[in-house]
């Protein structure tokens, strides 16, 4: 399963309670629309850490990295590369 699909699956299950009728495309603003709230952000951080085996530094917890499935996917790919080089 692609990174985007894994992230989407998590968001639908945990933030939308399985409701697939809510519009959720790859560019939907997750924070600005309230799909992800403050607790959801912490859950997402934990999910990404565990699902992709990544450590997310506090300084990376920015809206730019978290506000859509596309941005999350880009961030995860970038962290995978950084982690591999470390």
């Amino acid at each position: 399963m692609e990174i985007k699909d894994r992230i989407r699956e998590f968001i639908v299950a945990n933030c939308l309670f399985g409701d697939t009728s809510t519009e959720l495309n790859d560019d939907t603003a997750l924070l600005d629309t309230g799909i992800i709230d403050s607790t959801g952000v912490i859950e997402l951080v934990l999910f990404i850490s565990e699902e992709f085996g990544l450590e997310i530094p506090a300084e990376d917890m920015l809206p730019n990295n978290f506000n859509s499935i596309n941005r999350l996917s880009d961030y995860v790919q970038q962290r995978i590369l950084v982690t591999a080089q470390e």
Partner: protein, 322 residues
Amino acid sequence: MQFGSHVLIIDPEVETAQIITMMRQTIQHDFRRKGAIVGLSGGVDSATVLGLAVKAYGPERVLAVMMPEQDSSPVSEQYAAQMAETYGVTAITEDLTAGLAGFDCYGRRDDAVRSVFPDYDPSQDEIKLVLPTDLLDRGSLNVYSLSLSRPGGEERKRVLPVAAYLQIVAASNMKQRSRMLMLYYHAEQRNYAVIGTANRNEHAQGFFVKYGDGGADIQPIQHLYKTQVYQLAHYLGVTPEIIKRTPTTDTYSAECSQEEFYFRLPFEQMDLIWYGLDNQIPAADVAAALQISAQQVENVYRDLSQKSRSTEYLRSKPLMVR
């Protein structure tokens, strides 16, 4: 006139008159209560509300209740007692430590802390929850870290996992809910009403505990920005020690300012930016008034909007089907 801090200036005399009119009408005529109970924390909000209650009902119809527990700063009770004495109000102390221990508030919290720092020793270590400090410059998300400080100066900080975060908050919220329980005991015993002390910042951004400090019969300063509460405090003669004191949560064993726990900005900056958001002022105009960049203002606009939206649940009343 150019946008600036003057928009937050109130006429304290007029404001006080309006508030006490509402307080008298509501408590004495609508609710038919004989007086008022104020939970006095040693902070500026409750001191200001006590001053308003004294003006509305007279000191003989007001009771101040101080409710420390083991993590409270000792100066909080001292400042609160001085305030009550200045206003000529009877003040009583209800130490909540034993009750909270009975609920296992501290044990539940400490278990969650140990899940993050296994060597945590509550007999010597001090903890607090903090948010990132770079809201203005980077607009970082509200992800809490647990900070632990040990005698000797050792300090550690870790981002909190969800389960630990929720358990620490849930256990700590027992403190505010126990305070509400105690306030209503004294209120019902005297046929008084409970006067809340939440300001606009706390209410709209969700910095309160539902059915805890959010549980009251009226909220006389809920419409005022924090900087406006300070203006009232000066007018009402709140003691200098309380006015000069940095607002704290007084909830965790380590000293924790409200800025580092929740608001992430000094009140002078936040109130003006928030006023700008409330009144659709362009970010550039607010930025010019504060001598910061428009992007920094946008970062705060976004944070305020998200906090307000994500805490709507706290402000909602129990909903009915019909």
